[in-house]
Symmetry: C3
Subunit: 342 residues, 3 copies
């Protein structure tokens, strides 16, 4: 048998390290496609000149390009037989990715817990993305529910203790970043770190109706091979499930309108793909300021933000129903730290 | 309120200069996407070698990439509340744009005229695109009808005097351009400047049926944020209006078949988006030679061309009905100067 | 008449050489788009670092990018009036193509045979793709059935003698290629040349449902201008025929799952587009090992593979019906040589 059926729950061992296949070199091509696929307008990722004025050697590629590429590499080893993508934690961007960099990924199994039905279990992995110098550019914990394929004894449950959010002191500011001469006019909005209040909510106004071709182009670009995104014969209802990361990028790009200066993502505290997204849905986004912190870099502050993606029919800022469940129009509930000029 | 609702008619002042947000660095990625989105085959923009044989250091990106990027930047400041895009004039390409260049844009308000209904008015702006050296690469005048939001006194009307066409003497030929060793075989057609007659009309034969995903990829690539292109819930009929510039690029690319040697656009004399274009329309194009002129560059002549885009059902070369209105199948009527080997 | 109606059967002469129009410079943009359009994961084409570890200076662009670009250039001169694309033979990749290379194409007419109905004939051409140094990067023979436009005497029939497959001794291994330190884990699968047996068949499992926007983006990217791929009003049934090369690339990319180490295509022995493919079809692929051969390069073996693309409803490994015709679900039957670590 030359093809792989993917791993099942019983195939994982605590402490095991998986070197994921197919390294990938990025170029201006991936950047251009990112701008074609998402309404991304963040100035640091759009302009070499703006990035240089902020102390960087050139514009890095969007932080989510690094995330999607690393995530995509893990799919064949982690989520091919996943029933559900349950959560993220302790995600940090550790170094920018530049055109010409080559990324690879590796994951360590840090948690295993079989479900009481004996048919599936939860696998926790800590994934790192590395560039061609072996420098980590990204790390995050992700946990998924994976099917069992054979009747094996349940392993001793190991549930990792995960931080509810990355502490501000652990955020990694890209080397050289300096917002002390930040050009708010070129960046698109006048709002600085001091203008945002904890608890403030922002409706990002704009909406995008999603097409099949778009989400498939995106998901393939990240070499994510999960069948359910591409094969209309896979689900009984003939619909292709949109990669959750596509919704993350859409929502993050839409959040420009109100958060134009939330320039760089530096931590992923958590995230839930609350409901599936399908072609034809019109995606909108709103944000809530969860926390604020200083950083040691000149002129650079940090905002902890909740980013919520919703689809048509959503009411303003509505997240959960009375029973505490996500409302059916909520697609994504993401918790991240971003760097903002003070 | 962190988000912008855009400017209304009463927010503009004569002489005001707007520095538009989000500079953008272009690369081979934007060029490749242009070739994927439009059937563009012009040799100077396709091949570094062909461009070098014509005296340029390498292939610049398509002239319309510069136009779309500059136009896109103006949208949040000028046309977010526009009722209609009324016209273009005095457009000139002033310098080629190369991969690695960073473009920004600024506009000066040169005309204001409130409509008699007191609910809207016309705003004229002169927009310039600048590269990272501050060199202007493009300039054009555009006027739009913009809604009023508050009951303010009408400003004194100022209607700029605009040239009906850019005089041939004011065309800017890219530095170094030399068509004296032009390779007609490699370029795709034998027709030279001398072969085109004023009044001649050319049916460009080919048609392209447009998909939603395509026009949205294109419009996002230019960071054009107008809701009506992306959000199927925005219009009552549930249709997404295709960015007029997408039709310009489609028609210009289709015109290769008959105008393969009309290599570079150097002036935009005028243009009307005669009727809206929607996904499912099959776009065709025809051209009319309006004028001819010499240029000081070796082997380089100029043709003034009318480029008309039509959709299914159009009759050959039909433009206006008996009442002088554009026929319903006409999408675009564009008037431009192009450089052609003599 | 400025536009070209294309050539008809009576317009070809044995020995005639056609220099095809519009050279094209490739960049990281074309590579990124290739990854967005196809589920391509071959490590040598994905990663500069992996390619370097295999003795190459950097990652070349996918071998099929070279094929499609060269093929696209021939369309206006060869297949604009083609009734059918009948076959390929004696195809060889002769040198890798790198970002920054400029490709052009030329074809020599090597065979002509009028059909007995006097209304069409078969034209054989040998096409070569050349880079900016004049070095051939690709060559192949292709034959098409072309309509006659005028009542001319039938030419003396010339039917070239074509090899049923490129002999292994004539395969060109890219200079420097060395698989002796090949990293199977990074490449994605452990299977080496020695693990494949002649006669072995591999079901590549995954499927992709094709959208109109995708195949048009791809076909335009290769500057292929055949109307039938773009214009929904061209065929009576209102459907756009998908460029056969799009199916080749889809199937080749899908074959990663089971043939991840079949890294480089070096010969195209033959191929048939068995049935048309349309948007909405879900494409799958299977392969059969037809032959094995050694090469002089260190650690590098060659596999001759049949690559079959099928659509929904296909039975496993079914190719022809009892009458010897391709079954209706078979889209492509391709015969090629690939380089594999021994």
């Amino acid at each position: 048998m030359k093809t792989s059926a993917g791993r099942f729950f019983e195939d994982y061992r605590i402490g095991e390290v998986m070197a994921h296949a197919v390294p990938r070199t990025v170029s201006g091509g991936e950047r251009a496609l990112y701008h074609a696929l998402y309404p991304a307008r963040g100035a640091i990722h759009s302009s070499d000149e703006f990035a240089r004025a902020c102390g960087l050697p050139a514009a890095p590629v969007d932080d989510l390009i690094a995330f999607h590429l690393v995530f995509g590499k893990t799919v064949p080893d982690i989520s091919l037989n996943a029933v559900a993508n349950l959560g993220y934690a302790e995600g940090r961007w550790l170094a920018p990715v530049w055109p010409g960099n080559t990324l690879r990924a590796e994951s360590t199994v840090i948690g295993l817990k079989e479900n009481s039905n004996g048919k599936s279990g939860v696998v926790w992995v800590r994934t790192r993305g590395l560039n061609q110098h072996g420098v980590a550019v990204l790390e995050y914990v992700r946990w998924v529910m994976v099917r069992k394929n054979r009747a094996t004894p349940a392993p001793d449950p190991v549930v990792p203790a995960l931080k509810p959010a990355v502490p501000a002191a652990e955020l990694v500011v890209p080397g050289g970043l300096d917002f002390s001469r930040y050009d708010f006019a070129l960046a698109g909005e006048p709002h600085r770190w001091a203008d945002y209040q904890v608890g403030e909510k922002i409706d990002h106004v704009d909406g995008v109706t999603v097409e099949e071709a778009e989400h498939m182009l995106a998901t393939r670009l990240w070499q994510n091979t999960a069948k359910v995104h591409f094969d209309a014969t896979f689900r009984e209802d003939g619909r292709r499930l949109i990669y959750g990361g596509h919704v993350i990028s859409l929502a993050r790009a839409l959040s420009f309108n109100g958060l134009a200066n939330a320039q760089m993502m530096v931590a992923l505290n958590g995230g839930a793909h609350a409901n599936p997204c399908f072609a034809g849905d019109t995606v909108r986004a709103w944000s809530e300021v969860l926390d604020k912190a200083a950083t040691p870099a000149p002129g650079v502050g940090a905002l902890r933000l909740r980013l919520v993606a919703v689809k048509q029919g959503a009411e303003p800022f509505a997240l959960r129903d009375e029973g505490g469940r996500y409302r059916p129009e909520v697609l994504l509930d993401l918790d991240y730290w971003a760097l903002v000029p003070v």
